[in-house]
Amino acid sequence: MRSNVGTAARVIAVFLLGCLAFGYPLLALFNAPARVLGVPVLYLYVFGAWAALILLIAWAVSRARE
């Protein structure tokens, strides 16, 4: 059960991080018409953060009891 407690803490942390990443103040930083490598920064940021969040979820549940 110990590893479960760890998993619970990890997924909650990832969830809160996701809320932060897709929340107002952080999102506003990228609300600009600038482009990096031809791609708008907002588009790049949202999809980048999304992919990172998915990786973090995968990490968080990786040691969950099967």
Binding site: V11, V14, F22, P40, W50, A64
Partner: protein, 914 residues
């Protein structure tokens, strides 16, 4: 371009393929080799979340406000992060409580409330109908667009076509048939549909591949990659604003945030998501992997939404083509019929997947939670008398599927055209989001009660209907436009889209804020005000603490059992008298006659406590839990389980007894072992003592022999003296060895004992005669006192002689020459003959009186006196006497002589002899 008939044929063939997959999966499931028992299939089946709304509508929304479509997928991603906690809990609860729908789940949480189940079902049906309309709209729209190719302008409004010429109507009917085929072909006790899930997973793959194909085509076929596309957008002042769409914190950020919340709720509360994620879940462990695979799926399917949207906007400037149809219009306009057909099939997959699962889930709810409870209450149907209700149930479900699809079609035909796809979908989302407070709150907050849940759902639904549904009706002309513009009766504060003056928000955000406020507020306040009843509390425990209890074990009681069952249970383990007394006592306390006593939660609690005393708390709890299960074990099974328990109890008592016996045996063994060790040590002591005793005379013999050998000039007298010493020492050695052998023989039990009648008077006489010379030599007087009549004993005469000689020889050693006196007395001592040998010698100190009977212990100062005996005489004598059942002891005071006495029991039946 393909003809309408061909498109229809391809569509039907595609649905046929789906059915073949479902059929195959069902067959495999029946054979026990499930094709859906994999986290990947599970994650793909969750992809039913992406409907034609995603497929066509996301592009439409992206074309209007850039990344604004994304919260609908980011919300579920955030929710998926918590799948492992929340969804796993829901799945566990649903499995343990045999829950088959979200209505069932919420109702079950609040004490199996039929009212609540009905409310949830009504909200779900009302809320989902627009969503189904959306799918019909997408199917028929894409069909018409493809059929009218290469024309891609805005399609004709559906209401203008007659019913029988409307593709959406036929789409609705075809989908109804397939939904029935997939979900209501036969009844499944667990409401699981493996075939359907397999088909849905396949459809998820098809729509993903189709969407990625069109995305790649637009991005890299029509344009020179992302950079080129975005550069063109940035160059267009009209479109450039979409790259940074947030225009201020009050507007778009609030909208973004509320969409996140809304869609996070929807992923758990949509009936179809509940169906695939919870009811169709094969294995809880799939949830861990699905919690990142499912977001990954959504990421992939949304990757090209913006490029397609921008491509469409650039390709069809001026708004001549509906942005919702860009996905299909682009390949048509570019003259790619096969790609267009593939996109159409992808969209069809998205729509059919949603409609099939949603209608199956809704029909289950309508049948189980709306129709059946009412039907069973209506007496004249006599349903409770029918044995087989399965045909009726199937009929209700099939009718419900058709009905729901027709409702969807009606909504589409009369209201749907006024809205974009996303707007319709969000209205549905906002409706099912009303389940979230009751469901999630009930999952973690034990105090949430049925009254609170009903109040919350009703309040939230009412606000939703007022702020979202009513305006949509007004827009369709079913309500006067002034209702929205000026508020009912002209009251501006009640304007549905700016309730209490809250303006400046989009209608979804506005509705969510007010409905969630009403919903959560009512849930919390009413829950705190109205106390829950026992069954609610029991269910709350069951739900909230599902992971803290072993599966199936609950602490409290729900449902009803007959008093007889309970009495039987108690009587079986407490005895009938005690059970009766217990029930009587309880009835008296409750002030009801015992025959009217109900087996309610309190009584069962009392019974459980009593049972716990008899069979242990775990067994008692198991008994009560099994009784509490309405569809669980019968009373007979409980009895057999409990009989096993009491047997186990008996076994454990037996075990405890055995354990104690074993412990006692162990203690004895330990003591025996201790004695053995002591004996072993004594043996070692004996051997070393014997060696020492043997060495003393040997040393002496050797010393004198050496003197004789080395001194030939020694005087003859001296020589004779030395030889005499050698002789005496040799005799002593021989005697010692003989005695050691004797002792060893006696101790080992190998000695030969004669058993003959012995007259002790003769033995004493002989012994006195034998020692007379010795006594004369030492000038010690020997006196014998022998009575005339003495009983005959049975013993070994020679051995007794040996004992007596030994005692006499000892006595003379310690007497002073001249004044020494030894007296031997024989007497009759109650069943035994006693012999005393008393001397007037130096005596033996009290502390040494025990030691003289030990081997090689000689009294006296061994440093100054030469040892005169072997130290074995007394131990041997005592052994001999004891061999014949007697004893040998000494009584002495130092300076006053010592008396050695022994007794020999008289032989049974032997008379005295004179």
């Amino acid at each position: 371009m393909p003809a309408p008939a061909l498109i229809a044929l391809v569509s039907i063939a595609y649905l046929g393929l789906l059915f073949a997959i479902a059929f195959y999966a069902d067959k495999r499931a029946d054979a026990g080799r499930s094709v859906i028992a994999s986290p990947y299939v599970y994650a793909l089946s969750l992809g039913v979340y992406a409907t034609s709304w995603t497929f066509y509508g996301s592009v439409g929304r992206a074309a209007a406000n850039g990344v604004g479509f994304l919260p609908i997928y980011l919300g579920p991603t955030l929710a998926a992060a918590l799948f492992w906690l929340v969804l796993r809990k829901i799945v566990r609860i649903s499995r343990e409580n045999r829950i088959t729908s979200i209505a069932d789940f919420i109702a079950s949480r609040y004490g199996k409330s039929a009212t609540l189940a009905g409310i949830v079902t009504v909200i779900a049906v009302v809320g989902i109908v627009p969503y189904i309309a959306l799918q019909l709209k997408a199917v028929s729209g894409s069909f018409r667009l493809l059929a009218s190719a290469p024309e891609v302008s805005r399609p004709v409004v559906a209401a203008a076509v007659p019913l029988l010429a409307d593709t959406a109507f036929y789409a609705a009917l075809a989908l109804a048939v397939f939904a029935i085929l997939f979900g209501a072909r036969h009844l499944d006790a667990a409401e699981r549909h493996e075939g359907m899930v397999a088909a849905i997973a396949f459809e998820s793959t098809v729509k993903l591949v189709a969407f990625l194909a069109i995305g790649l085509f637009v991005t890299f076929g029509l344009y020179g990659g992302l950079g080129d596309l975005f550069a063109r957008v940035a160059a267009d002042p009209q479109l450039a604003r979409l790259l940074a769409p947030f225009d201020g914190p009050a507007g778009s950020y609030a909208s973004w945030t509320w969409l996140l919340v809304l869609s996070a709720f929807a992923i758990l509360c949509l009936p179809r998501q509940f169906q695939v994620a919870v009811v169709e879940n094969v294995d809880e462990s799939h949830i861990a992997k699905a919690s990142w695979l499912f977001p990954l799926y959504m990421l992939a399917i949304n990757l090209f939404v913006l490029p397609i949207a921008f491509g469409g906007l650039l390709h069809f400037p001026g708004g001549g083509v509906d942005a919702d149809t860009f996905v299909l219009a682009l390949p048509i306009a570019e003259g790619r019929p096969l790609l267009a057909l593939m996109v159409f099939l992808g969209g069809l997959s998205a729509a059919t997947g949603m409609v099939i699962v949603e209608t199956v889930a809704l029909s289950t709810m309508v049948c189980n939670d709306l129709v059946m409870p009412v039907a069973l209450r209506i007496g004249f149907l006599r349903l409770h008398e029918q044995r087989d209700l399965s045909r009726l149930l199937l009929g209700i479900r099939r009718a419900a599927i058709v009905g729901i699809l027709l409702l969807g079609y009606a909504y589409f035909r009369f209201a749907g055209e006024a809205y974009a796809l996303v707007a319709i979908g969000l209205i549905s989302f906002a409706a099912v989001a009303q389940f979230a407070p009751a469901m999630l709150g009930g999952l973690y907050w034990r105090q949430a009660t049925r009254a609170g849940a009903i109040a919350g759902l009703a309040a939230g639904f009412a606000v939703w209907a007022y702020t979202l549904l009513a305006p949509s009706f007004a827009r369709s002309g079913w309500l006067p436009a002034g209702f929205v513009e000026a508020g009912p009766w002209g009251i501006a504060l009640l304007k549905p889209l700016a309730l209490f003056g809250l303006a400046g928000l989009d209608e979804i955000t506005h509705s969510m804020i007010w409905s969630m406020l009403a919903n959560c507020g009512a849930l919390v306040i009413v829950s705190l005000l109205v106390a829950p009843d026992a069954s609610e509390q029991a269910q709350a425990m069951r739900f909230v603490e599902v992971f803290r209890r072993p599966a199936g074990g609950v602490g409290s009681w729900r449902g009803e059992a007959s008093l007889d069952d309970l009495r039987g249970l108690l009587g079986r383990f407490l005895g009938l008298e005690r059970a009766a007394a217990l029930l009587g006592e309880f009835a008296a306390r409750k002030r009801v006659p015992i025959e009217r006593l109900r087996a309610d939660a309190e009584l069962v609690q009392v019974a459980e406590t009593q049972l716990a005393g008899a069979i242990g708390s775990a067994s008692a709890r198991a008994a009560v839990a099994s009784l509490a299960k309405e569809e669980g074990l019968g009373i007979a099974e409980v009895m057999s389980i409990l009989d096993e328990t009491s047997q186990l109890l008996a076994y454990s008592r037996e075990l405890e007894r055995k354990r104690q016996e074993l412990e006692a045996a162990t203690t004895e063994l330990r003591a025996a072992n201790e004695r053995l060790r002591e004996l072993d040590r004594m043996k070692d002591d004996f051997v070393s003592t014997v060696s020492h005793e043997l060495r003393t005379p040997l040393t002496s013999i050797r010393a004198f022999a050496e003197i004789l050998h080395d001194s030939p000039e020694l005087a003859a007298a001296r020589r004779r003296e030395f030889v005499g010493i050698i002789l005496r020492e040799t005799e002593r050695l021989t005697r010692l060895i003989n005695q050691i052998l004797d002792l060893a023989k006696i101790e080992s039990g190998r000695a030969q004992w004669a058993a003959e009648p012995v007259d002790l008077r003769a033995v004493i006489r002989d012994a006195a005669d034998s020692t007379a010379a010795l006594y004369r030599e030492r000038e010690v007087e020997l006196e014998t006192a022998v009575p005339d009549r003495v009983p005959i004993v049975v013993a070994d005469r020679d051995r007794l002689q040996q004992v007596l000689l030994n005692l006499l020889a000892n006595a003379v050693k310690f007497c002073a020459p001249g004044s020494g006196r030894v007296r031997v007395a024989l007497s009759d001592a109650r069943g035994a003959v006693r012999v005393d040998v008393a001397d007037n010698g130096i005596g033996i100190a009290r502390e040494e009186q025990g030691a003289i009977f030990e081997k090689f212990r000689q009294v006296g100062d061994t440093l100054t006196d030469r040892p005169q005996g072997t130290g074995l005489g007394l131990p041997i004598s005592r052994l001999i006497v004891r061999q014949f059942g007697g004893d040998l002891w000494v009584a002495s005071e130092p300076g006053r002589g010592a008396t050695f006495s022994f007794t020999i029991p008289v032989a049974q039946g032997e008379g005295g002899r004179g």
